[in-house]
């Protein structure tokens, strides 16, 4: 063999190897791998389909099979039985058993997270492939609670001798090949997955990139195939870029104004309505969020099917009506145009936080709108934890927040936390409605579809009338995807990036 022949042979082999090895799908998000603990950073691994939960959710929040393929509820509606997928195994080739699942769920229940607040009394394995969960009261949203990432099922080999998670050995269609917290991990297709058709994407890389500008530039340059959580300004540029498709999806997150109804002014529903009527939601949605459809006409966005009531009278922008309501409530303008009652000005401090970059700008727009009707607001940009802190010590007057109603795919859990009899850290403050409490309680316990729909509608109506928390805008998730990818879809509940459903177009 001559040197030339040798060179040609090596070149051919290298070429063949390159052709055989499919390039990895690169997923870029702002979310760092802060911890391997399911209750803390576990969502990264369920979204990348490494770890599975017993149940999943479709685009309308309905429970769909996950690691459990079927479930039943006893006649007294207190005992659930979940049957595990046949031949399911972990990435270390050990079988997924009901015993292991029960242990994982017990562990999740002991940590802060949705399961901790659920009325569970017992979790146990009743057969090698059947897990039984008992509740103290009927609790219909249980499957949705089990879809949340802190309920993920990991193999016993994931834990060290102290019980801390040291590796992620899941049972999903992808398994981890390299883990480099806090920014990166790589996965490859798990050939032993029995949950469905073999995914077309063989390898993927997860990369946390904190700066939104960097994520957008990575998508534009083709260094990210899927870039999540882009800002409106960045997507305008990306829409003009060749090779990138930008998708926007309404998700169950709402920008809301949380009011302290312990304060005499906000205890009056007329003042709360006036605050709402002063808001030019369409202006905020168009100019700041770059999406007129994001203007909140009611509490829940259309993506929350059942909770969003199409026939509900929409929230309006009507400063004249706002002034009339304030006058009716006894607030009269002084010489400077500031509203005063009993010698006290209508003034509040609006707390917000800059982790979500649009909030400071929306806060400024709200300040201007409220000033127009005589309400004086100061803005205090703080840490997001200052909202629950202010709720606890009573110092919060007004808070501008972006509340996520899809912590579990059924928002009932979040609603109970936010609008219970004593309010909630991120929900009502100094306001309670026995009617709403009863409706939420009934929703928890009933499984009749028609009744549930009526109850959800009732919840929306009460919130629309009473406005303990004022919706401003609905959130949209912006994702840039390479046009070389087929089958891209966005999960509005952000449970999964759905890479197992995608394939390379070429």
């Amino acid at each position: 063999m001559t040197p030339r022949d040798l060179f040609c042979t090596i070149a051919m082999l290298l070429g063949a190897t390159t052709a055989l090895a499919q390039e990895p799908l690169r997923v870029v998000t702002p979310f760092e791998i802060a911890s391997l603990e399911p209750s803390r950073g576990g969502f990264n691994f369920t979204r990348m389909e490494v770890a599975e939960t017993l149940v999943g959710a479709d685009d309308e929040g309905r429970a769909v099979p996950g690691l459990s393929t079927a479930w039943t509820l006893s006649d007294d509606r207190l005992t659930w039985r979940f049957t595990l997928r046949a031949r399911a195994k972990f990435h270390d080739d050990t079988p997924v058993t009901a015993e292991i699942v029960a242990q994982c769920l017990e562990r999740a229940r002991s940590q802060p997270g949705p399961l901790k607040d659920a009325p569970l009394t017992e979790i146990r394995a009743v057969a090698p492939d059947v897990v039984e969960i008992a509740t103290s009261t009927p609790f219909m949203p249980l499957p949705a609670f089990l879809a949340e990432s802190s309920s993920q099922i990991l193999a016993p080999s994931s834990y060290d001798e102290t019980g801390a998670v040291r590796r992620i050995i899941g049972s999903g269609p992808y398994r981890i090949t390299s883990l480099e917290p806090p920014l990166r991990f790589e996965v490859e297709r798990f050939e032993g997955w029995t949950g469905g058709a073999k995914p077309a994407i063989e390898r993927a890389i997860y990369q946390a990139v904190g700066r939104k500008e960097t994520r957008a530039l990575m998508a534009e340059s083709g260094q990210a195939d899927l870039a999540f959580t882009l800002d409106p300004a960045g997507t305008d540029r990306l829409r003009r870029a060749a090779g990138v498709a930008v998708t926007t999806k309404s998700i169950p997150r709402v920008i809301t104004l949380k009011l302290n109804a312990h304060l005499p002014a906000f205890a009056d529903v007329r003042v709360r309505r006036a605050v709402s009527l002063a808001l030019d939601r369409e202006g905020i949605a168009s100019a700041i969020l770059r999406s007129p459809e994001a203007a909140a006409t009611q509490f829940f966005p259309p993506t929350m099917v059942g909770w969003h009531v199409p026939g509900l009278a929409p929230l309006r922008h009507d400063p004249a009506e706002a002034r009339r309501l304030l006058a009716e409530a006894g607030w009269a303008p002084d010489a400077q145009g500031q509203l005063v009652k009993d010698g006290k000005p209508l003034h509040a401090t609006l707390r917000s936080y800059a982790v979500r970059p649009e909030l400071p700008v929306v806060a400024a727009a709200i300040q201007a709108a409220e000033r127009d009707i005589g309400i004086d607001l100061d803005i205090a940009m703080m840490n997001s934890s200052d909202i629950p802190a202010g709720h606890r010590d009573g110092t919060l007057e007004m808070g501008l927040i972006a509340r996520n109603f899809s912590l579990v795919p059924d928002p009932i859990g979040t609603m109970l936390a936010d609008f219970g009899p004593h309010g909630g850290d991120w929900g009502a403050m100094g306001w309670a409605s026995p009617q709403l409490t009863e409706t939420l309680q009934a929703l928890q316990e009933t499984d009749a579809a028609q009744t549930r729909a009526a109850l959800r509608g009732r919840v929306s109506e009460i919130l629309q009338t009473e406005l303990p928390v004022i919706p401003v805008a609905w959130y949209e998730l912006r994702v840039a995807a390479s046009k070389r990818l087929d089958g891209v879809s966005i999960d509005p509940f952000e449970l999964s990036y759905r890479i197992s459903r995608m394939r390379w177009a070429d």
């Binding site: 870029v28 760092e32 802060a34 911890s35 391997l36 603990e37 209750s39 803390r40 802060p112 997270g113 801390a164 390299s178 480099e180 917290p181 806090p182 920014l183 990166r184 890389i205 990369q207 946390a208 990139v209 904190g210 700066r211 500008e213 960097t214 530039l217 990575m218 534009e220 340059s221 083709g222 260094q223 990210a224 936080y353 982790v355 840490n383 997001s384 934890s385 200052d386 629950p388 802190a389 709720h391 606890r392 972006a402 509340r403 996520n404 912590l407 936390a417 909630g424 850290d425 991120w426």
Partner: protein, 313 residues
């Protein structure tokens, strides 16, 4: 030899003093920061959406944050003296493991930036200094002023648009790819090179105007021979001192560049630790960085002793 021992001894005493002062200061400063530590830790652990007062109370109980501060500090000092830096309150991982990985990434980035600065700054500065007021001098110094003036987050984004988006030359955000080191290193290194070029240029000009350079020419050495013999060594003294200080600033000041390029370094980690009031992480990082700076100063002293014979006397 005596001078060398004195330098090392001095730095050792400095190291111990710095360790004690930094530990106490970082602990005290974290306690003085506004906000409820338990709430902030809960926010970092569970995310904005899940931070509640109940989660904060669970964190407070788990970590014993309601214990007297003096007791918490004493425990940390006791652990540290026994070689255990504790565990991160946020991730639960051993602090030393996190610092080791992150410091390694930052040192790699800072080293690459310094290497680029050394490659560019002294060369262009030296060339500019050989003909003060000439075209190379004026152009070079104008470029140096421009690179020095541009903030690193602007320079980083401009480089990314140019080198990644428009031409597709260099990758970003993939710390496993060696090439992805280049853009953040360039972002840091260009600013550093600009100042070191200026210092090198002034050093060269000062040497060329010095009596010993004139004497070297008078005794018959050609200009080139005199430059090669006298200029590099004399111009290097201020440059070494500057680069040592700059390296220290690089390690402490890479936060912005690490954020822009998603580089998993210590600046990035320290920011998160401060936001989440991760006291063991903050204390251990501050301690490691300050001891590293003492080590850097010691190495600078040694380098200067080696280069400048006047210091050995």
């Amino acid at each position: 030899m005596g001078r060398l021992a004195a330098v090392l001894g001095q730095r050792l005493v400095q190291a111990v003093t710095v360790a004690v002062v930094v530990s106490l200061l970082s602990f005290a400063l974290v306690q003085l920061l506004p906000g409820d530590q338990a709430l902030l830790i809960a926010q970092r652990r569970y995310g904005d959406d899940r931070v509640t007062t109940a989660a904060a109370e669970a964190v407070r109980a788990e970590l014993g944050l309601d214990r007297p501060l003096a007791l918490q500090l004493a425990e940390w000092i006791g652990q540290t003296v026994s070689g255990d830096l504790g565990r991160s309150l946020l991730s639960g991982a051993p602090v030393w493991e996190e610092i080791r990985d992150q410091l390694g990434a930052t040192l790699t980035l800072a080293g690459a930036a310094l290497g680029l600065a050394l490659l560019l700054g002294p060369v262009f500065g030296g060339l500019a200094g050989l003909r003060p007021g000439g075209l190379a001098d004026r152009t070079g110094m104008a470029a140096a002023a421009a690179f020095r003036a541009v903030p690193s987050f602007v320079l980083g984004l401009v480089l990314m648009v140019g080198c990644t988006v428009l031409f597709g030359w260099l990758p970003v955000g993939d710390s496993s790819d060696g090439l992805s080191l280049l853009l953040p290193a360039l972002t840091l290194g260009l600013g550093l090179a600009a100042t070191s070029a200026r210092i090198a240029r002034d050093g060269v000009v000062a040497t060329l105007r010095s009596p010993f350079f004139a004497f070297a020419r008078l005794k018959g050495l050609s200009r080139t021979a005199a430059i090669l013999r006298h200029v590099p060594r004399n111009a290097a003294v201020p440059l070494i001192a500057y680069l040592a200080v700059s390296f220290a600033f690089l390690i402490e000041g890479v936060v912005v560049v690490e954020q822009i390029f998603a580089w998993p370094g210590i600046g990035h980690a320290l920011t998160h630790a401060i936001e989440g009031r991760d006291v063991p992480m903050i204390q251990a990082t501050a301690l490691t960085l300050s001891l590293f700076l003492v080590l850097l100063n010691a190495l600078t002293d040694l380098a200067l002793l080696l280069v400048d014979p006047r210091r050995r006397g």
